[in-house]
Symmetry: C2
Subunit: 430 residues, 2 copies
C-alpha cells in the first residue's frame, strides 16, 4: 500500500473540526481518489480539555502548535487557528522552515504576508495552499489559477463575505434597519460578537488581496485595497435600489486598468438580473473575466464547517497526489509589484441620495454643482412633497470620474439645504 500522507492539524474549531470529520467520514473515498490514505496524526488547540465532538485518542496532542512542525509523523501542517500574525504566522513559518507543506484557511495571514510566505514555500519546493481562505467551499483559487490559466484576466469581482450579504438580503426582504438585522445575525451565529472584520469590509478585503494576486500575477498588496463597509447602508437606499432595478451588495473588485490594478471593497448597486445581483443570503459569488474564456461565475457557500473544510481537504489531496502549482499562479519570485490604481481614478456611474429641504431651487443648486464638475445626471427621483420639510432626493449619474464626483459631493454636502451627509453608492453594470 502507498505511503499515507500524515496531517497535523492546528486549531480544532469550526474549520479544524470539519476537516477531522471529512478525513474520517470520507476516508475510503479519499484513499480511492488519491491512491494513498490521508490520516491525521497530531493536533493542537488551546484547551486540551474541551469536548470537540470527535475522538482524539490515538492523535498526538501539542499545546504549542509550532511543535507540530517538528513532529516527524507530520508531512503537512494545517493552520486553522487564524489571525494575521502571532501563533498562526509563527506556525506557518516554522512548518515551512522544517520542510512541511502548509494548508491554511487564514485569509488575514495571506493578505498580510502572502508574498513572503509563498517565497519561503517555493524556495524549498513546498506547497502553501489556501483554497479555503477565499470563498470557503467554492473552488475559486483552483478555478482561477488552474482552470482559467490560459487567460489574461481582465477583472475579478464578487461577494466574498456571506455575513454582509446575509444582512443586506435580510434588510431588503424585511425592510428592517441595519442595526436590527445585525443583532439578529449575531443571535443566529451568522455574525461574530465583534462584527467589525465582516461588516467594515476587512474580511472581504483580505480575500480580495489574495484573489487579485492570483488573477494578475502580482504581489499580494492588502494595503492598496480601498475598503468601505456596509454600516451606513439604510433601508431607504435599499428601497431605492429596488426601484431602480438594482441590488446593493458589498462587492470586492480587482480590475486591471491602464493606470494599474484597482482593488476595492465597498457597497455597490448591481443589476438585479446579474449573477451577483441574483446571489442572496449567506452565499458567496465570484466572477472572473478572462480574455479568451470571457466571464465565468462561481457560486456557493463561503463559510461554515463543511464547505470550508471541503476546500482544506481538496488542498490536502493536491499534496497527496503531488499536484503542484506556484502559490499565486506564477512563481513567487516572478510576482510583480503592480502599480495600484487609486479609488480616485475609478470611472463609473453613481447613485446619490440627499436629504434636502423641500423648497424650490434646491434641485437646481445640486444640478448646477454637478454640471460644474462635469458630472452628468442620468435620472432623478423625488417621491412625494412636503413643502419646507426634509425629503429624500435620489439621482443617478452617467459614467464619470470618482475624483470629480467626490469634489461635487463635498460642495453638495455643504449646501445648507442639504440636511444630512449625502449618501453615495457606486453602480457597477456587469
Amino acid at each position: 500500500m502507498a505511503k499515507p500522507l500524515k496531517i497535523g492539524i492546528a486549531g480544532l474549531g469550526t474549520v479544524g473540526g470539519g476537516v477531522l470529520q471529512i478525513l474520517r467520514r470520507n476516508a475510503d473515498l479519499l484513499e480511492t481518489r488519491c491512491g494513498r490514505p490521508v490520516v491525521v496524526t497530531a493536533v493542537s488547540a488551546r484547551s486540551r480539555g474541551k469536548d470537540r465532538g470527535a475522538d482524539l485518542s490515538g492523535l498526538r496532542w501539542y499545546d504549542d502548535a509550532a511543535a507540530l512542525a517538528h513532529d516527524p509523523e507530520v508531512d503537512v501542517v494545517c493552520e486553522l487557528i487564524g489571525g494575521s500574525d502571532g501563533v498562526a504566522k509563527a506556525l506557518v513559518e516554522t512548518a515551512l522552515a522544517n520542510g512541511r507543506h502548509v494548508v491554511t484557511a487564514n485569509k488575514a495571514l495571506l493578505a498580510r504576508h502572502g508574498t513572503a510566505l509563498a517565497l519561503a514555500a517555493e524556495s524549498r519546493g513546498l506547497t502553501l495552499a489556501y483554497e479555503a481562505a477565499v470563498a470557503g467551499g467554492i473552488p475559486v483559487i483552483k478555478g482561477l489559477r488552474e482552470g482559467l490559466a490560459a487567460n489574461r484576466v481582465r477583472e475579478v469581482h464578487g461577494i466574498l463575505n456571506g455575513t454582509c450579504n446575509y444582512i443586506l438580503t435580510e434588510m431588503r426582504t424585511t425592510g428592517r434597519d441595519f442595526a436590527d438585522v445585525l443583532a439578529d445575525a449575531q443571535r443566529l451565529g451568522y455574525a461574530e460578537a465583534d462584527p467589525g472584520f465582516d461588516i467594515d469590509g476587512v474580511d472581504a478585503a483580505h480575500k480580495l488581496a489574495i484573489l487579485t494576486a492570483v488573477a494578475f500575477g502580482c504581489q499580494v498588496d492588502f494595503d492598496a485595497v480601498h475598503v468601505e463597509g456596509i454600516r451606513h447602508i439604510s433601508s431607504l437606499d435599499i428601497q431605492y435600489a429596488d426601484e431602480l432595478g438594482y441590488r446593493i451588495r458589498l462587492l470586492a473588485i480587482g480590475r486591471r486598468t491602464e493606470r494599474g490594478i484597482e482593488q476595492r471593497v465597498h457597497p455597490c448597486m448591481v443589476p438585479v438580473g446579474s449573477p451577483i445581483g441574483a446571489t442572496d443570503g449567506v452565499f458567496n459569488a465570484v466572477v472572473a473575466d478572462g480574455d479568451f474564456v470571457d466571464k465565468v461565475v462561481l457560486v456557493g457557500r463561503g463559510a461554515g464547517a463543511g464547505p470550508t473544510a471541503s476546500a482544506v481537504v481538496a488542498d490536502l489531496l493536491d499534496i497527496a497526489q503531488g499536484r503542484r502549482t506556484p502559490t499565486f499562479g506564477v512563481p513567487a519570485e516572478r510576482l510583480v509589484p503592480l502599480p495600484a490604481s487609486p479609488i480616485d481614478s475609478r470611472r463609473g456611474r453613481y447613485y446619490l441620495r440627499l436629504m434636502v429641504v423641500d423648497r424650490p431651487g434646491v434641485i437646481a443648486d445640486v444640478a448646477a454643482l454637478l454640471r460644474d464638475h462635469n458630472v452628468s445626471m442620468e435620472a432623478f427621483l423625488q417621491r412625494g412633497r412636503a413643502p419646507g420639510e426634509a425629503v429624500p432626493v435620489v439621482l443617478t449619474t452617467h459614467e464619470t470620474d470618482e475624483a470629480a464626483m467626490q469634489r461635487a459631493l463635498a460642495q453638495i454636502g455643504a449646501l445648507d439645504t442639504v440636511l444630512e451627509p449625502p449618501r453615495l453608492i457606486r453602480i457597477e453594470d456587469f
Copy 2:
C-alpha cells in the same frame, strides 16, 4: 531555460484555431505561469490549402493526423477533430500507444470510449485530459474532480448545451415557435445545419455521461443515459411555465439514488429564481452537490473558439507543470460499473398539458385516472372557455413515481375527449 512542451494539433477548425491563437497571443504569460514554453510544432487537418487566419509556416503539416503521434517533436497530441470513432479515436489510441499525452475536446469520443481510453492512458502513466469536452470554458471537470474532491457527490445537474438553451430562451422572450427560432439560430451560427445532436439531447447526454463518471467514480456509461430533446416544446408550454414560476430548460441530471445512478437529459421546469432558471441564452451552468460543500454553481460559456480553447490550454498547462489526476477522479482500474437507475424509477413532480374538448366531465375523467394511479394533483389551470371546442388544460402533480405517471398518461391520452398526445414535462425543484 526549461524544456518546452511540444504540442501537435489535429484539427484546425473552431477549437483548433482558438488553441493556436491562445498559445501565440498569451505565450509569454503562459511561459511565466508554467515555467516553460508551450509551443506548437506540428498540425494536421483535412485541407492543407485552407486559409486558417493563422501563420502555419514553421509547423510540420500532416495529412494523416495519426502521424502526429509518431513525430518525435510532439509531447502532447491535441485531438480537435471530433466524432466518437474513426480518425479521432484512431488518433487518440495511437498517441497513447506511442507515449504521447492527449488533450481533447471530444465529448462523443469520451462518452463512448472514455473508460477504455482512460485505462490506456493511465496504464502508461500518460494524461488524457478533456476539460473542453464538458461545458466549454467553464472549468467543471477540474472544479468537480480536484475542487470538490473531498466530497461524496450526491448530484450533478446542469445546462450542457448552449444551442438548446438559446432556442428555449428565444422562444420565451419572443413568443415564437420552435421551428422558427431554430431556423434563426442556424442562420446566426448558433446551431449546426444538422441540429440533431444538439436539439435531440445527444450532445448534452455525451457530456452528462462524462460528468457522471467524474462525480460518482463510475465507468462512463453513455447507453444508460435517458435522452429526450426539445423538439416538442411549444411556446404554449413556455407561457404556462412562466405563469407557474418556472423556466423550461434542457437539463442533464446525474443523481445517486438508492437504486443506482440516474442519468437523464430531458426538458425540465425549474424555478425561475434557481441558478439554472436564471441562466439564459447560450450559457451553460453546472451545479454539483457534495456532502460537505453543499451546492456549488458554475456558469459561463459552453462553446465557441475562445472559451473552448481556454479549457484545452488549461489542460496543456497541467501537463506542462506535471500535475496529474486520474482521468475520471479515481484510477481507471478502480472505476466501478454502478447500477443504472432507469427513468421509470424517477420520483418527482410533473407538469401535464392536455388539449381537451371543453365540455363538462372531461376534467373529472382525467382526475379520476390520476387518482386510480395514485398520482395526486397539485394545481390545475384552465384559462378561458370555448364550449365544445379544443382548449388547453394544464395541471401539476405532487411528487409521484414516473412509472405511475406514465401509466396514467397512457390512459389519459386514450380518452376521446383528449385531442392531442398529452405533453409531460418533469419539474425539478432545486
